[in-house]
Amino acid sequence: MHPVRKQRLIVVLLIVAGSAIAVALAAYALRSNINLFYPPSDIAAGKAPVGKNMRAGGMVLEGSVKRDPDSLRVDFIVTDYSANVPVTYVGILPDLFDEGQGVVASGQLNEQGVFIATEVLAKHDENYMPPEVQSALDAAQQNGDKAAAPLN
């Protein structure tokens, strides 16, 4: 390779490497802010701020959703299957909200460790399949057929 071009190639590689390092350092310094939410285990470990606006995310624990019959109030537990956070929300939930589904709630953690949500978003997972396949999977699971694992 011509020496001038070789020099330019080195400059190009330095530009890419330099910006990669700069971005990596910035992302490392801001890592807690890049995360959209705190998982329940971080909240249980006291890593999440109390009384400040933040988000909590995880799965809605099966059997934990309690709807108030007289209002839009919903209580449920968000879990990552190693820690639980109770959540209280007053408002309309997204269509995909369900037990065993992912959610991201924004709001504040109070002194009692209850998360008072002002907004609840449903987190969709990466699985896509037709309804018939899902009902076949459910039927297989009820028959105790463990071999029929879901698509993932």
Partner: protein, 250 residues
């Protein structure tokens, strides 16, 4: 060895805008046919015949536009950054033309991805927009494309303009792997990848095949658009040469 000699000869020929203009004219009809047939087939298949999703019902069908647009917008950026590197190292005229042509196409595709994602997000997540790592990094990709376009216009001298844009393209290419892995590195609202290269994809084949056809269609469309933009840019830049004048007179 013979292959490398051929590749090197091809690489050198690419240095001639006139040769590229002529050869790309021959490719265009076939590529357009491929793009059009894939897009029509994929859209009809995906929107009308693929089964609905067990949780999202029919709203998931935006995947057939959103995912290909997002994938090609990132591939387009890599093409642009690669062309920028070639332009900076070899001062190849054609690389500069390709880089300049990638920017508006990529900006349009990124906008489509953001727009369709937002439309899908409202019924699925419950919000139009959230500042999570994936969405924010794609927004940065959009601004990078706009930045490259703006830098081209910001200089009187074409040489400095393309040099500045090339450096910005190179710096911005760090963003592409960040977009791709953002959903794994950080907690985000956006779901992780469904189509995986190393393991089984978590999408039913009845939905996957139309999606792959659409992906193929979007890639072909990107190549067609890139050739069309590059050809008009070549004609403009070479407008004072004999061959372009002869072409215009004919």
């Amino acid at each position: 060895m013979g292959f490398f000699v051929l590749m090197w000869a091809f690489f050198h020929k690419l240095g001639s805008p006139r040769w590229f203009y002529e050869i790309s004219g021959k490719w265009l009809p076939w590529l357009s046919l491929l793009a059009l047939s894939c897009l029509i087939l994929g859209a009809v298949w995906g929107l009308a015949f693929a089964p609905p999703d067990f949780k999202q019902g029919n709203s998931y069908r935006i995947i057939f536009i959103h995912v290909p647009a997002a994938a090609v917008s990132m591939a387009c950026y890599m093409v642009m950054a690669f062309a920028a590197a070639i332009h900076l190292i070899w001062k190849m005229k054609l690389a500069d033309v390709v880089m300049r042509s990638c920017a508006p196409i990529g900006a349009a595709l990124t906008l489509i991805a953001l727009f369709t994602g937002s439309i899908w997000g409202k019924p699925t997540w419950g919000t139009w927009w959230v500042w999570d790592a994936r969405i924010t990094s794609v927004l940065i990709l959009f601004f990078l494309y706009l930045g490259v376009l703006a830098l081209y216009e910001a200089f009187e001298n074409a040489e400095s303009a393309s040099k500045a844009s090339a450096v910005l393209s190179l710096v911005g290419c760090v963003n592409v792997p960040i977009i791709y892995w953002s959903v794994e590195w950080w907690y985000s609202l956006h779901q992780p990848a469904t189509i995986k290269l190393t393991e089984e994809s978590t999408i039913h084949p009845d939905m996957l095949y139309p999606l792959l056809v659409m992906l193929c269609g979007f890639y072909a469309f990107f190549v067609v658009a890139l050739l069309l933009f590059s050809r008009s840019e070549i004609l403009y830049r070479e407008r004072k040469t004999k061959w372009v004048k002869a072409l215009a007179a004919a």
